[in-house]
């Protein structure tokens, strides 16, 4: 960090003689921060917390793997060969589920914590406006979730001896766009938490609903494609199980994937905006 370069000793010396002080003062006239600085600050903070407190990430990975083990072993007992035949589908679905839960809960819990810490107001009263800050935080959460889910995926593949197509661009693009819609749900839930503190905890249960969305029957009920995750999940299955590359998908499928992602993200953000606006009128923003 460049701030470390200027030790208190250095500035002390400058302050002792008067002539250089004027120059120093002129030099440290504050410059406006750009979106680049904002992005750097927000992403760097996420990174610092990720590397400094790895227990949280590792804990999440362990819990996810435990659930998968229960699912896999329990399923083998009940379904036997049938499960083994569809194991690829289960691994891909579970991978997408951990991604979704990670993105959703990190955004909604983050908003909840920031309300408690009194830092949410400071992000709302920024000259940048809350939207870019929230978006950058969302990006950071998605990147972080991809890292932990990649570990989970690797362990699942090794443990079950499954082989999947792991073309990085395709997987990241399809899975990434799929969970952007969930990010929108996270913002909406966070907004509701700002208004009604207790409901926030209940909204965490929504993550189990993601299972239904991920396994939605998009072929029998085409309208389910417009729900979050459903269409993306179907595309991710084709990409990872059947080895279809991003550019091999029909344009309509890709367009729908993007539209669903943007639509829910925007919708979620609007709910958040509305909720914080109402909280400001009711005077409950930052009350805890």
């Amino acid at each position: 960090m460049s701030a470390d370069a200027t030790s208190p000793g250095t500035s002390g010396t400058a302050a002792e003689s008067s002539a250089p002080t004027d120059t120093a003062r002129a030099e440290d006239e504050p410059r406006p921060a750009t979106y680049y600085h904002l992005a750097r600050a927000v992403l760097y903070r996420e990174f610092l917390i990720f590397v400094r407190y790895p227990a949280n990430a590792i804990g999440g990975i362990v819990v996810s793997l435990f659930f998968f083990a229960a699912l896999f072993l329990g399923g083998q007992l009940l379904a036997g060969q049938a499960l083994t035949d569809s194991i690829e589908g289960i691994v891909v679905g579970y991978f997408l589920w951990t991604l979704s839960v990670g993105a959703y809960s990190s955004v909604s819990n983050d908003i909840g914590s920031e309300v408690q810490w009194g830092t949410l107001e400071r992000h709302i009263t920024t000259p940048f406006g809350f939207a870019p800050v929230a978006l950058l935080k969302g990006v950071a959460k998605v990147v972080r979730t991809f890292l932990t889910s990649a570990v989970i995926l690797a362990v699942m593949l090794l443990a079950t001896g499954t082989r999947l197509s792991l073309a990085p661009v395709t997987v990241v693009a399809v899975a990434g766009l799929s969970i952007v819609s969930v990010l929108g749900l996270g913002f909406a839930a966070g907004g509701v938490t700002v208004l009604y503190k207790r409901i926030g905890n209940w909204l965490n249960l929504l993550q189990f609903g993601f299972v239904a969305l991920i396994s939605a029957p998009v072929f029998d009920l085409p309208w389910t494609r417009f729900l979050p995750l459903a269409h993306g999940s179907a595309m991710l299955q084709r990409a990872m199980v059947d080895g279809i590359r991003l550019w091999e998908f029909p344009v309509a499928d890709l367009a729908l994937l993007v539209a669903v992602a943007v639509g829910y993200l925007l919708g979620g953000y609007l709910v958040f905006q509305f909720a914080t606006g109402r909280a400001r009128r009711l005077g409950v923003l930052g009350d805890y």
Binding site: M1, S2, A3, D4, A5, T6, S7, P8, S11, G12, D22, A24, R25, A26, E27, D28, E29, P30, R31, P32, A33, T34, H37, L38, R40, A41, R45, L48, I49, R52, Y53, W117, G118, T119, E121, R122, H123, I124, T125, T126, P127, F128, G129, V133, G277, R280, R281, L282, G283, L285, G286, D287
Partner: protein, 355 residues
């Protein structure tokens, strides 16, 4: 801390680049819009019979570079007033301007120059170090953190936090955490800073240090500070001017000296073991006995003693055979001024705390 980047870029406070006149205060600095202008502000919480008027038609102007105290019991409307000024609470009526920018219309422009430390809030990230917090919140307030790195060092030096710059905030003591919270608020170079109960929960020593530092920052950095508190020691020590709030209304607005001066009652407190009920009732007939404290050791009474009355009181005491063990003039404090103006004391907030 000097002006924020945003206002330095294009506002009326921009310095000309023709000549360097470091000590010259440009006329714009003194004649520009006030740091804070609140007009007819009203905020009501709840509906119908349960409605509470937290802020009731308040108008208030805070000039640049001044330190103003908001004094009042819990529920007087201090925090709501501050939150309205920050745009965190949207008022029902009235307007708030920060350096001429309407908080409601041009919020983003206003946000660059104002920041706040709100009551009981952490305000910063405990898992980051002190310096990381300063850099983060400087950026959030719209200032490139590299351009104010030296400033941050000075700030940390001044607040005695330089040794702890690279320590995560969670590992610091309560008093230090409070100072980091203050530093993070000042990190972005906001010129108008609201501090809501800044000494709440601090021990006597930490509170004293923080008060001294606030005063120093205000003078040396030319900050405009609005301090809200129900603790008059903080207000008396830090502020030039006091705005007293009660039930959402301003009940007094003047300098500390003027408020105390107006309340000066020219009274003396006389203590003596000889002050029994009989003596006191005799004295009551001739003098204005303001207060009697029989439980004090020795018993004491407070008597109005303007003009030549003091000599007469002393003569009367001698005549009554009272040996005086202690005489002192009664110094009014802000608490008494508040009591005088509102009929209630500072400790007594109204039932609910609508904030």
């Amino acid at each position: 801390m000097a002006r924020s980047a945003t206002s330095a870029r294009g506002g009326p406070r921009e310095r000309g680049d023709t000549r360097e006149e470091p000590d010259d205060v440009s006329p714009d600095e003194t004649t520009g819009p006030p740091a804070l202008a609140v007009e007819d502000l009203t905020k009501r919480f709840g509906d119908g019979d349960d409605a509470v008027v937290a802020v009731d038609d308040v108008s208030l102007t805070v000039e640049r570079g001044s330190v103003v105290g908001l004094l009042g019991p819990n529920g007087a409307g201090k925090t709501t007033l501050i939150k309205c000024a920050l745009g965190i609470v949207i008022p029902d009526a009235g307007s708030v301007r920060v350096f001429g920018n309407d908080v409601r219309d041009g919020r983003r422009a206003a946000y660059a120059d104002v920041d706040a430390m709100l009551e009981g809030a952490r305000n910063d990230y405990w898992r980051l170090t002190v310096r990381e917090n300063l850099r983060y919140f400087a950026t959030i307030s719209g200032v490139d953190p590299d351009s104010v790195a030296a400033r941050h060092d000075r700030l940390l030096d001044r607040l005695d936090l330089a040794d702890k710059a690279d320590t995560p905030v969670r590992d610091l003591s309560r008093g230090m955490k409070q100072k980091v919270s203050l530093a993070s608020v000042l990190a972005g170079g906001a010129e108008l800073v609201f501090l809501d109960e800044p000494t709440l929960g601090l021990d006597v020593e930490s509170a004293r240090t923080l008060r001294a530092e606030l005063r120093r920052l205000a003078v040396e950095e030319g900050l405009t500070i609005v301090v809200s508190s129900h603790d008059m020691t903080t207000i008396e020590a830090v502020c030039d001017r006091v705005v007293m709030l009660s039930n959402g209304r301003i009940v007094a607005d003047d300098t500390v000296e003027a408020l105390l001066g107006a309340a000066a009652s020219d009274a003396v407190r006389v203590a003596s073991p000889d002050l029994d009920a009989e003596t006191i009732s005799e004295l009551r007939e001739r003098f204005e006995v303001v207060d009697v404290d029989r439980d004090a050791r020795p018993p004491a009474m407070t008597v109005a003693a303007g003009g030549d009355r003091l000599y007469e009181i002393m003569d009367a005491l001698r005549a009554a055979g009272v040996t005086v063990s202690d005489v002192r003039t009664v110094q009014p404090d802000l608490e008494e001024v508040f009591l005088e103006r509102t009929g209630s004391d500072l400790g007594a907030g109204r039932g609910g705390d609508p904030r």
